[in-house]
């Protein structure tokens, strides 16, 4: 029983009006372990994370996830930015089934500037948002962690040391997928790599090779225009 299993997967995504094929009849399975997730472009990495967290579905084949999987930690969209940190913890406690008060205490203890928890997230510095995101992921109990953010914060060594310690304790013998935001970190921490390139997802032990493939064929990623979707209402009464 492998935590991530992909069979005969055909997977397309759309970006800036263009359709890209990410996987073509690809089959792979990942054992528990700490993986570097490397895509031939950032689009491939994002699309693969979308597939794993269930945001997108395959057009053909199947992707089976066994166990609880995290959201792609580091994506800020999951926080409705206008809510306060406390509201966000309540929301996450409902979605992931952890105790709200424990979550608040845990974040207060490790975040440092805990007084920010009562202020809207939109006003927080980016680094604090990333730290908050990591801490929330550590409160919940996951079998698969998708990490799309920095693990090392050069301006806050203590926090970095705490977070790696906590993550190691929490994700011991579990599956962690880490995108190569910080090469030094992934080289030290990852023992295997999932490479999404040439319409295939493959697993390799060669981290350096995987890092060389990462973003080797960059695609210009446009942000999607959601206004057309949001403003389905034309504002008229009838």
């Amino acid at each position: 029983m492998k935590p991530i299993e992909i069979q005969n997967a055909t997977y397309f995504v759309r970006n800036s009006g263009t359709v890209h094929q990410i996987l073509a009849n690809s089959t792979t399975a990942a054992d528990p372990g700490w993986y570097l997730l490397s895509g031939s472009s950032r689009l491939h990495t994002i699309a693969f994370l979308d597939l794993l967290c269930g945001k997108s579905e395959l057009q053909n084949g199947f992707c089976r996830i066994r166990g609880n999987i995290s959201w792609p930690i580091g994506r800020m969209g999951v926080f409705s930015s206008v809510v306060t940190g406390i509201n966000a913890i309540s929301h996450f406690s409902i979605l992931y089934g952890f105790d709200r008060n424990f979550g608040i205490e845990f974040v207060k203890e490790h975040l440092g500037q805990y007084e920010l928890l009562w202020k809207p997230i939109v006003n927080w510095p980016t680094q604090i948002k990333l730290k908050f995101s990591l801490l929330l992921a550590l409160v919940a109990d996951f079998d698969i962690y998708l990490i799309d953010t920095n693990l090392a914060f050069p301006e806050d060594v203590d926090f970095s040391r705490n977070i790696i310690g906590l993550l190691r304790a929490k994700a011991k013998a579990k599956t962690v997928l880490l995108t190569p935001k910080q090469t030094q970190v992934v080289k030290a921490i990852c023992t295997k790599a999932i490479v999404v390139a040439d319409q295939k997802a493959t697993i390799t032990d060669n981290i350096n090779e995987a890092l060389a493939i990462n973003n080797s064929k960059p695609i210009n990623i446009g942000s999607i225009n959601e206004t057309a979707e949001i403003d389905a209402d034309d504002g008229l009464l009838f």
């Binding site: 935590p3 995504v13 759309r14 054992d31 528990p32 372990g33 700490w34 689009l43 994002i46 979308d50 967290c53 269930g54 945001k55 997108s56 579905e57 057009q59 996830i65 066994r66 999987i69 959201w71 994506r75 969209g77 409705s80 206008v82 809510v83 509201n87 309540s90 929301h91 409902i94 979605l95 500037q113 920010l116 809207p120 079998d143 090392a152 050069p154 301006e155 060594v157 203590d158 970095s160 040391r161 310690g165 190691r168 994700a171 011991k172 013998a173 579990k174 599956t175 962690v176 030094q184 030290a188 921490i189 990623i221 446009g222 942000s223 949001i230 389905a232 209402d233 009464l237 009838f238």
Partner: protein
């Protein structure tokens, strides 16, 4: 003054005014005061002063690093990279790599109805916060905007009828019609947007597209129920109408009406995904539904030919049933419970089927 001198001056200022025992927020305030003071003195007021600005920002960053180093405990590493350097005594993986043992993965638990309802509630709260903070009095607009819509729609029956419509007082008659119409319409709009503001919540593996559609559409039910109850209470208070004959049944029809709107919106969301021109067709369809919904009239007043057409609209049946259970004076002879439930179930089943079919469509990837 040269850039280097400015930098030196700012650094010495920060050393005396920003000690290392200041907490992070006080430090930020001190830095902002420094920037304000520099601006007041005209050091960084024009775009040409970018060298000064750079010197100040560099001094602030330098002070941050100094404080970070001063605050480090004695036994800690100096830089974060030592945590990931196998030759460093602070190497984070010194006592073995965390993936050395393998554990069988657990199977995810099924969600229970109570958890699902809690999740929808929480998503709705997120969506409401987002809508409520669009401007300074956003929360007020959340209720004021739909209230104005309802009142404008209520004004139309005044022009068409005298004091009563088939013995029903025209004011509560209009409020029921308007609230039902707007609940349907806004539920349809919420579902048609595929989740709208809640779309980023799809990053959560525990949140499905169906969840965000329902949570977004829930807003209309909550708002128009609240507004309906508020306006009807005022009407009863000022003696312009009576208390309802059977309020729970009326609310039940409102919920059914909301479900119809949700199903309609889900169908059109899927259709728009196939061909975007369906958005235009929806514009006409939703207007036809509004005009034939019985908001301003009752079907019993219409000529036979027209009546046969408007009775095809399930919304009309639910509005007429609601009025029948609100007013003692009126019992609809045209509304059919069998037709209403048959049409509702058909729409809901079609909506769900199209939603399932739509799940494997090619998705947009955002940066």
């Amino acid at each position: 003054m040269s850039t280097r001198e400015t930098n030196e001056q700012v650094r010495s200022y920060l050393r005396s005014n920003c000690p290392s025992d200041l907490d992070a927020e006080a430090r930020l305030i001190a830095f902002n005061e420094l920037r304000d003071s520099a601006e007041d003195r005209g050091l960084i007021s024009s775009p040409k002063d970018y060298q000064n600005r750079l010197a100040i920002e560099f001094a602030i960053a330098e002070r941050q690093r100094e404080i970070s180093r001063e605050n480090l405990s004695d036994d800690g590493p100096e830089t974060v990279w030592e945590l990931y350097d196998p030759n460093s005594p602070y190497f984070a993986l010194n006592d073995g790599h965390p993936d050395t043992k393998t554990a069988p993965p657990k199977i995810a638990k099924n969600s229970r109805p109570k958890n699902w309802l809690l999740k929808i509630w929480s998503l709705w709260i997120q969506s409401t916060h987002r809508d409520g903070t669009m401007d300074r009095i956003g929360y007020l607009w959340l209720l004021a905007d739909p209230m104005i819509h309802v009142l404008i729609i209520c004004a139309i029956p005044f022009f068409l009828h005298s004091d009563t419509v088939d013995d029903m007082p025209v004011l509560p008659f209009g409020v029921i019609g308007a609230c039902f119409l707007m609940t349907f319409r806004m539920a349809a709009t919420g579902a048609m947007s595929g989740g709208g503001a809640l779309l980023p919540q799809l990053d959560h593996p525990t949140v499905s597209r169906f969840d965000v559609i329902v949570a977004r559409a829930l807003h209309s039910l909550a708002v128009y129920t609240l507004i309906g109850i508020f306006l009807m209470s005022l009407i009863v208070l000022f003696g312009r109408g009576d208390l309802p004959a059977n309020l729970p049944i009326v609310l039940l029809f409102l919920v059914l009406n909301w479900c119809i709107g949700l199903a309609y919106g889900t169908i059109f969301h899927a259709l728009i995904g196939i061909y975007s021109g369906f958005r235009r067709i929806n514009g006409f369809t939703i207007r036809f539904i509004a005009l034939s919904s019985g908001t301003f009239y009752i079907s019993e007043q219409l000529p036979d030919t027209l009546r046969q057409i408007v009775l095809m609209n399930p919304l009309l049946h639910s509005v007429q049933f609601a009025r029948s259970y609100w007013f003692y004076e009126y019992k609809s002879s045209d509304a059919s419970l069998f037709y209403l439930f048959f049409a509702s179930l058909t729409l809901i089943a079609t909506g769900l089927a199209m939603h399932m079919r739509n799940r494997s469509k090619v998705e947009n990837v955002r940066a």
